[in-house]
Each structure stands twice: as C-alpha cells, then as structure tokens.
C-alpha cells in the first residue's frame, strides 16, 4: 500500500491537490490586500484581526501551512528524482516546442518560497511576537514596506514568477488529477491564463499604487 | 523417399485436423514443465508459439536478434489478416478460403495444410480480439472487414494500415504474460549461430550474445524456428534490413530439407529506389490499386512531368493487358507487367525503373476527402519518403522483393526432416504454394504459432518425457560451438577492404537481375557463376573492424551475407530445375503466346525439397508429389 501511496503518480496527485488548495487561497488573500488601498486603516486592520482570531480561520491557517509544506517537500522530492532520471544531458539541448513555463516550475517555485519566508518575517512573525512590530496595525506595516523600492522590486519580480508558476500549475493540476476532457480542457487552459494574469497583476497593482501614488 | 513423409492424416479433407487433434499423443501436465522448448523468433508465429506453449505448461526459451520481441518484422504488415468468419454473409467459408489460397498459390501447395490454415483462421481472429487487438469496427460495434486482391469475398480483418503491428503487439502481450509467469524465458539480442543435433534429434542451439559477443549454448527437447523469410537476399526488399535466413540455413545444413526456395513474391507497389545508398524499399499497400491507375508514357523516354502528359499519350498497361481485372490483377502479374514496360524503355523517373500509380481520376470522382480517409496514412508515408505529394502528382512505384513462399520443408505436424526441429510461419514452405494471396501471411503465421504447433508438438514430445534436461556439456555442443567460433574467427581474419553490406548489395543485384521477377536458363546459369565469383571475393576481401567481444554489427552482417551466398546458389538451382512458370516463378521459356505463365502440371506438380550434401557438393532433390483431391487444377486467367 505504501508503495502505491508513494508511487510517482500518487506524489503528483498530492502535489496537484495541494496546489489547487493554494490556488483558492490566493484570491482570499488578494481581497484582504485590496483593503490596503483604502485610506481608512481600520478596514484592513479589522480584517487582519478577524483572520488572526476567528477559530475556523485559525484551523484553516494550520491546513494552509501544512499544504504549503507538503507542496514544497513533494515538489523538491519529485524534482530530485527527475534530475536523477537523466544523469547525462544532451549537448544539443532541447529544441522541442513545449509549454515554456513548465520547464522552470522548480525555480519559479523556489523564488516564491523565498518570498514566502520574507513574508513570514514581515508579517506572520510579528503576530507570533518573534519580530518587533504592532500586530494590530498591519496596515501601517504594509504601507511602510511598500515605501521601500527594493522591497517593491522583489515583490514585483516574485509575483511575475508566481504568474508563470500558476499558468502551468493551474491546467497541469487538472491533467494530473486525470481531469482531461475534449471540451473542458481548452476551457481550463483559458481560465488558467486569465487567473495567472489577473491574480499577480492585482497584487502588483496594490504594491505599485502604495509605492508610487501615495 | 523415406525423407519426405508428409504425415497427412487419413480421412476427408475437412475432418483431417479434428481427427488429428483427437488422436494425437499428449503429454501429462506434470511432465510438461520438465520439457524444454526453444523458439527462435518473436513474430506472429514465434511469439504465438512461445506463449501458447507456455500456457500449456512447457518450459520455453524464446530468442530474437532485436532488442525487444516487439520489433519482429510481422510488425510491418499493413493490409490485414484473413479469416473465414463469413461475418458479411457473402458466401465465405473455410472451403472457399482454402480454395482461394490453393488457386492463388497456382496449385503448388499441399491441400491438407492449406485447409487447416483456413480452418484455424477463425480462432486466430477470436484470440486476437480477446487479447485486445483493436481491429476496425462498424458503427454497430461488430468487426469490419475489407476485400483484398484475388478473392470475391470480404474476409480481411484490419486495423487501419497497421494490422501487422497490432497483431504483433497482441502476440507480444500474450508472450509477456508467460514471461511474467516464468513459463517463458526471453533472450533478446541473440543470434542463432547453429543448431545442435544429438543422436539425430534437434537438441539445442548455439547463440551469440549481440551485446557481449559471448557464445552461448542452450539445450532443449525440441527446437522451433519461427525466423521469417529470406526476401533480403535481394538486399533491397520490403523486409527489415536485418531479416535473414541464417537460422533456417544452418538447420538446412544440419539436415533439414529446403523446399521451393525460388518461390519469392515480388510486391508490385513499393517506393522505388531513389539513391545508391538506399537500404530499403517501402511497401505501399496493395489496397491502393483499388483506386489508383497504373500507367507509363506511350513514348519512350518521355521526361515531361506526369501531369502535363495528356491521357491519350499514356499507356494504362494493366487495363490494356488485363481488361477484366485491370489494375487489380494479382501481385505476380502486376509486377511482371511493370517490369516489362520498364525493360522496354518506358519507365519513368531518372532511373527509368518506376511506373506511375495515379489517383487523379479517383480524386476527381470521389473527392480528396474520400481518398484521404481510405489511404491517408499511406499518402503521408509516401510524401515523407519521397517529398512528392501523391494528391497532386502520381506516385512512382516499382516492384520489390517481399515474401518467400519457399522455406524449410515441413510435414503436416510442421516438423522438418530433423526430428524435434519445427518450422513455423514464413520460415516454412507449406501454405502458399508458388504465390501468396494478400492478408494470408498474418493468418498463417498466427495459426501456426497459436493453434497448430502447440497441438502437433506433443506428438513428438510425448516420447521425450524420459529424456532429462539436455546437458550443454555434451561433446555435440562443444563441437558445434567450436565450429561457430572458428567461423567468426575466419571472418575476422580476412582483413580485406570491403564491407559485408557492399557484398550483400552486389549479391542482391545478381539475384534481382537473373532470379527476380522473370528468369531464364541462360541468366540463371550466368547467375551461378557470378554468385560463385562474388562469394570467393567475399571470403578474400571482407573487412570487419572491431573485436567480437562486444557489439559488432559488421560481424552480424557478415554471417548473414555468407549464408545468403549459399542460399542464393540453391535458389538459382531450384529456379533452373523448375522448367515451368507458376505463380511468382516465371521462366521466360515457359509462357503462353500472350506472355502469361505456363504451368507444367504433368512434370512439376511437386514440392522441390533440397537436401544439403556437404560443402561444394550439389544439392540432392527430393520430390513431394502434390495430389489434388478436392480441387481441380486450372489455368489462372485474369484477362
């Protein structure tokens, strides 16, 4: 049984499920972030407070962290196996026309992970009291951060890479789950394209407005 | 004639096989495991036999020279597989299939074997379908069939243009099941170098491991050759370039008679030779002649592009010569007619060795879409190879060596003249006479492997149960191995200048020119001299770089070509001996005033089975008279 659970397809299945869960988390986070555009800090701060204290969200937070951890661990595990599967590469490279972004999932994923760590330091660790700051005023924390140009550069780069990651991940997850259909698969691909553009652009929009127009 | 007891069971034709099966000696299931059988080849017959014998419980060792059993050349058969299912209710029956084969073979095949092949054909289709072979189906979910040359019923089951591949993969899957069960042990990348005979019986083989160069000994209670045909004797043919006659030839030199070697089918519709390095002539399915019209320009050396030659200046020579059958005459007839035009100087392309196969009229009448549906994959293949689009310009085609009706002589039980040595599929001679009908090679190969051999072999093995596993330390193994190693060393010691392939190519040209589609006494005699000279040159000027202790493809080729020199002599001898024209064997001296084949039933209604008499000795001819009880011998006419 364990062999079935840890077979290549099962590992991919875990990756896909975790990925889809993370896909649902991003819009939630985006909606809250949009409140940063408001001039009234109370709106964002109360939303942040709610997210930090509501019991159901607390549970979901644990699930979210677990999911991220699983997604990262499984992703690295799969990638290492993939590297081992071709110890000697081609001198003439690969000229096959394929989904471009799929070739760099581990690297786009890694940069997102680095951003996540940064994000933890900037916000989550404040909440835990590990880093100095006022957990009741993330509005100001965010506004201050977006005043730092370097932070914006990192932020924007990471969200561009997130877009690349999402574009392949979205439809790939469906394929891995075996959900391939003559009509629906092309639809999924279009939705994936829209999603992977709209989500990162929206996040980027917030960062740019706070940085340049405030 | 002690040697040629064909062991045909008594009784009416339709009852023979049933009667045989119910009276054949059997082997107790407990004893089967102790009996070892070697099967050489993994095509439809070889993989079929190995898996069936494994299912029965025998210990089977299966060998092939390819890296995987899935690559045997049965894989390349295109058109289909015949079966007397009569699903179309168009009057088909076992008897009708039998009759078509006998007539198509120009009355040079053995009635009892042919009838049995027709009889088991229905089981073959059932079995392949059960194995998951995706044959074409009708909208109602039933199996579809199509018609093929030389018959009036629709009995050809097919899987687009890849029937052979699908059947072979079916056979490969049944073989895999037995490999998993441990009943069959697979030995890929092995070449059989010789047969080991102990006390007059086939007891094993010597092989070369094509990766390590190791010479290996394998013992068994019986040996089955499923090694295919020898069409690559022409060098250029529709066969896989590594197909060879070596296993069969080694068996022949150890005492198995070789029957009707000169009966080789030349397929009319192949992509012609395009360059001097060409290694292969790709077949374009016979089905194309349903809609394509064959022609050459009426004036010699007309080098205008085909499309601008007006129709009154075209010679549709098949329609002209055979108004009744037109473009759908049998393969041998169509091939000879194309050769006749080219020899007379009317051939097209730079070489003058091609005729047009034109679909313009069919496209006009039925539309491009309809033609695409029927032949799309073949047209794609043609444009891939030649760069010419057959939708807009006629295909260029020319005949090429294709299938060998001749092969090792076998009796009704498919045993050769060496006790314990069997030959199945294309490697034997038994079912196709002097010409094979389309879609019956898959049928025969599968029938032999799955349903006939597994039933007949117990007749022999029942008396072998007391024989312990054959020890490969016996002196017979040691000696045979020594001879095989010596031969390899002899090849390596020549250290001349030329490649094995260049000799093969020259041998092929001699065979094609003098012992191909048409033959005559003068040419055949000349061929014998040329073959001998070339053979001498081969043994003096061959070069093989590299050692024998690793992959050495030049060494592999050399062994095969060396055997082809010897087989070529026999082939020509057989063609000289048969002073008549029948099926694929066309002797110019024996034709009707209209240029058609003229059989001589009085003198040549026999199977010519040749015995090897030793190095440099002339072969000894044994005749198996063919007695036609059920059918009356007639002249084939397609006018």
């Amino acid at each position: 049984m364990s062999k079935i659970l840890f077979s290549s397809i099962s590992k991919k299945f875990v990756m896909a499920l975790a990925g889809i869960f993370l896909l649902t988390f991003l819009p939630v986070h985006l909606i809250i972030n949009l409140l940063l555009l408001s001039d009234n800090p109370a709106q964002f701060n109360s939303a942040a407070h709610f997210m930090a204290t509501f019991p159901l969200v607390k549970i979901m937070e644990i699930v979210l962290f677990a999911t991220i951890l699983v997604h990262i661990t499984w992703g690295i595990m799969l990638q290492i196996q993939n590297w081992f599967a071709r110890p000697v590469g081609y001198v003439s490279g690969s000229k096959t026309e394929t989904s471009f972004f799929s070739k760099f999932m581990i690297w786009t994923g890694a940069s997102i992970m680095i951003f996540l760590i940064l994000h933890l330091f900037n916000f989550y660790f404040i909440k835990l009291g590990l880093v100095k700051g006022n957990p009741e005023d993330f509005y100001s924390v965010a506004h201050n951060l977006f005043k730092i140009p370097l932070y914006n550069y990192i932020y924007l780069t990471c969200f561009a890479l997130l877009g690349f990651h999402l574009f392949h991940a979205f439809s790939s997850a469906f394929q891995t789950l075996g959900l391939n259909h003559r009509i629906w698969t092309p639809v999924v691909k279009v939705v994936a394209l829209i999603y992977s553009i709209v989500i990162p652009i929206s996040f980027a929009f917030i960062s740019i407005s706070l940085w340049l127009f405030r | 004639m002690e040697k040629l007891n064909s062991k045909i069971p008594e009784g009416p034709l339709a009852q023979k096989w049933t009667k045989f099966k119910s009276s054949v000696k059997l082997v107790n299931p407990a004893n089967k495991k102790k009996l070892e059988i070697i099967v050489i080849g993994t095509g439809l017959s070889g993989a079929g036999a190995a898996s069936s014998l494994g299912e029965l419980g025998y210990s089977v060792k299966n060998f092939c020279y390819q890296d995987s059993p899935r690559r045997a050349h049965s894989v390349a058969a295109q058109g289909g597989i015949n079966a007397a299912k009569n699903y179309q209710s168009d009057g088909d029956s076992t008897y009708r299939l039998f009759y078509d084969m006998i007539k198509g073979g120009d009355f040079r095949a053995r009635e009892a074997n042919v009838y049995r092949a027709a009889e088991v054909s229905t089981q073959v289709i059932d079995h392949y379908t059960a194995l998951g072979v995706p044959f074409a189906r009708d909208y109602g979910g039933t199996l579809d069939t199509r018609s093929f040359g030389g018959v009036q019923v629709s009995r050809t089951f097919y899987a687009k243009g890849q029937t052979g591949q699908q059947c072979l993969l079916g056979a490969y899957s049944s073989l895999n099941r037995q490999i998993k069960k441990g009943n069959v042990k697979m030995y890929p990348r092995r070449e059989m170098l010789d047969l080991v005979i102990i006390d007059g019986k086939a007891r094993g083989i010597i092989t070369r491991n094509l990766i390590t160069g190791e010479i290996e000994r394998h013992g068994a209670h019986a040996v089955v050759l499923a090694t295919g045909g020898y069409g690559t004797i022409y060098y250029l043919s529709t066969l896989a370039v590594n197909s060879n006659a070596s296993a069969a030839w080694k068996a022949h030199k150890k005492g198995a008679l070789f029957a009707n070697p000169s009966f080789i089918q030349i397929h009319p519709t192949c992509v012609p030779q395009l360059n001097e390095f060409q290694s292969k002539l790709t077949l374009m399915s016979e089905s194309l002649r349903n809609d394509g019209r064959v022609w050459v320009p009426k004036s010699k050396g007309d080098s205008r592009p085909p499309n601008i030659i007006p129709s009154e200046e075209r010679d549709y020579f098949l329609e002209r010569r055979y108004p009744a059958f037109g473009n759908l005459v049998p393969r041998d007839v169509a091939s000879r007619a194309a050769k006749e035009r080219c020899d007379a100087g009317f051939g097209v392309s730079e070489t003058g060795l091609a005729v047009y196969l034109d679909f313009t009229d069919a496209i006009k009448k039925q539309g491009k879409k309809a033609i695409e549906n029927k032949y799309g994959n073949l047209f794609d293949m043609y444009v891939t190879i030649t760069g010419i689009d057959p939708y807009t310009e006629p295909m260029r085609i020319y005949p090429a060596g294709h299938y060998t009706m001749g092969g090792l002589w076998v009796d009704y039980e498919l045993m050769t003249t060496i006790p314990g040595l069997y030959s199945i599929g294309e490697s034997n001679f038994s079912d196709h006479g002097a010409n094979r009908l389309g879609a019956s090679s898959l049928m025969q190969a599968a029938g032999d492997g799955y349903f006939i051999l597994p039933n007949t072999i117990s007749n022999y093995l029942a008396d072998e149960i007391k024989i312990p596993p054959v020890s490969t330390d016996r002196p017979e193994f040691v000696e045979t191995e020594k001879a095989a190693v010596e031969r390899i060393n002899k090849f390596l010691a020549i250290k001349g200048k030329q490649t094995a392939s260049s000799f093969h190519k020259r041998l092929g040209k001699i065979m094609w020119d003098y012992c191909g589609m048409v033959r005559n006494e003068e040419g055949l005699k000349k061929a014998l001299t040329l073959i001998n000279d070339l053979k001498a040159e081969f043994w003096n000027d061959l070069n093989i770089p590299g050692p024998d202790s690793e992959v050495n493809q030049e060494l592999e080729k050399a062994g095969r070509v060396a055997d082809y020199f010897e087989l070529a002599e026999l082939l020509v001898t057989d063609a000289l001996n048969r002073k008549e024209s029948c099926g694929a064997h066309f002797r110019e001296e024996y034709q009707t005033p209209e240029g058609e084949a003229q059989r001589n039933d009085e003198k040549y209604a026999y199977v010519a089975a040749w015995e090897y008499a030793g190095e440099g000795q002339p072969h000894i001819l044994h005749k198996e008279e063919l007695n036609f009880v059920e059918v009356e011998m007639k002249v084939r006419s397609y006018k």
Partner: protein
C-alpha cells in the same frame, strides 16, 4: 551537400564516451538519415575504423528500433516521424548535425547510439496484457464495442516503443509510453477485468526502473513519432486512482 557530423562514440557500457567529428561530402537529399549513416560507416569500415553502432531494423517507421537524438530533437527536427523516415532533404549544405543517444538513467548506453530499452519490456511484462489462453476466446463478435472506443484504443495502441517520449522529456518520464498501453485496454471491455492490477503493476515497474515523474510539459507528445496524445496520461492517472 556537405555536412559536419558530431556523433557520440562510446565503446561499451562502461567506457567513457565522447563526440567525434566526421565530415560527410556528397550527401544526397534523397537519402534517408540512416542511409547517410550507412554511407559514413562504409567509409569507416573501408578505413578499418569501428563503424558507428545504432539500432535499426524495419526502416519503415514501425518497428521502433531506431532512435537517436538529432540536433535537439528525438528522431530529428521533423515531427511525427522516426529517424529511419527522416530524409536528408530537411538538412542544408554546411549544416552541423549533433547525433546523440537517448539519455535516461533507465536507458543506459550499450555502444555509441545504442541504448538498452529493456526497462520498457519490463513494464509490459508487469501487466501489459489481457489474460486469456489460446483457444479460450469467445467469438470475436460476441462483445460489441462502440466504434468510437475501438478507434480510440487503436490510436493509443499504435505506440512503437521507441523511447522518444522518454528521450524528449526533461524528466525522462515514461508516462506517455505506459499510458498508451493502459489507455488501449481501458477503452476496451476485454481490458476491464484486470484493469486495477494492470495499472498498479505497470506503474510500479515504471517507478522501479528509475524513470522521472511527469510534469505535464508535453515534450513527449510533441516528439512522439506516432502522435500519441497527452490525454492518455490523464487516463492513466484516472485508472491509477480507480485502482486504490
């Protein structure tokens, strides 16, 4: 035309390989790629140099023996064909042609361009069959199968087992190969009885052989000489989940 060939030469499985450069003059555009290599080998043998070893057999695109990685593509730059069908008219005078063996851990190089593909056979032995003995089959028309399913099964069944999918995949994954067989049987009623055991056994054999994991990149589909589709992989995934 004149070509510069850069060919991977490796004496045997244990030896260290290297690229060797060969100049080819007088290459005719009518030659097939393998015939061009035949011509090179003829030249080499005449100079008593070990010729380039490569697997090949039917030379009509169906046996699956041949396969080499040519200028960044398995089976060369032309889609939907095998190496033996690759015509030299697709190359230009003066071109440099890199010729490499399939690269994957489960496909170790045996010599030069020959690799060991027995891993594929092992996968098929593990479960790529329907268990029925010769003679036990019902009449071929006893089970009616919708034409659509039968045709789809055929489209999956035409895999020639050449290994181009593995060679093309950045992860050296064999999913397309395995999925073609699984799909063929999944689409036919004959294949249902053993469906669960089959998919488990074949995936296990695939994993044990050391192939990489599928990342849905699609290189396999793009390079498959028989145009086997990615949908097969989705079907394989479904069949695998069903087998839990």
């Amino acid at each position: 035309m004149k070509l510069t060939l850069k060919i991977w030469r490796q004496k045997n499985a244990k030896a260290k390989g290297t690229f060797v450069t060969y100049q080819m003059d007088n290459v005719s555009p009518e030659m097939a790629f393998l015939e061009m290599l035949d011509a090179l080998n003829k030249k080499l043998v005449e100079q008593d140099i070990d010729p380039v070893a490569f697997d090949h057999d039917c030379r009509e695109g169906i046996c699956g023996s041949c396969g080499m990685y040519i200028n960044g593509h398995p089976h060369g730059p032309v889609p939907a064909i095998t190496t033996c069908h690759l015509s030299m008219r697709f190359f230009k005078d003066g071109d440099t042609v890199w010729i490499e063996p399939w690269r994957a851990k489960p496909f170790p190089v045996i010599k030069d361009l020959i690799v060991d593909r027995t891993a594929f056979d092992k996968i098929q032995v593990a479960g790529g069959y329907i268990s029925i003995n010769a003679g036990a089959a019902p009449d071929a028309n006893a089970n009616l199968i919708p034409k659509k399913n039968s045709d789809a099964a055929f489209d999956s069944a035409i895999c020639i087992g050449c290994g181009a999918c593995v060679a093309a995949c950045k992860n050296a994954s064999a999913m397309l190969f395995v999925s073609a067989k699984i799909s063929q049987f999944a689409l036919l009623p004959q294949g249902q009885i053993e469906a669960k055991d089959r998919v488990r056994a074949m995936v296990k054999a695939m994993d044990e052989a050391g192939f990489g994991n599928c990342s849905n990149t699609g290189a396999c589909e793009a390079e498959c000489p028989k145009e086997i589709k990615l949908q097969n992989i989705a079907r394989l995934n479904r069949e695998f989940y069903k087998a839990f």
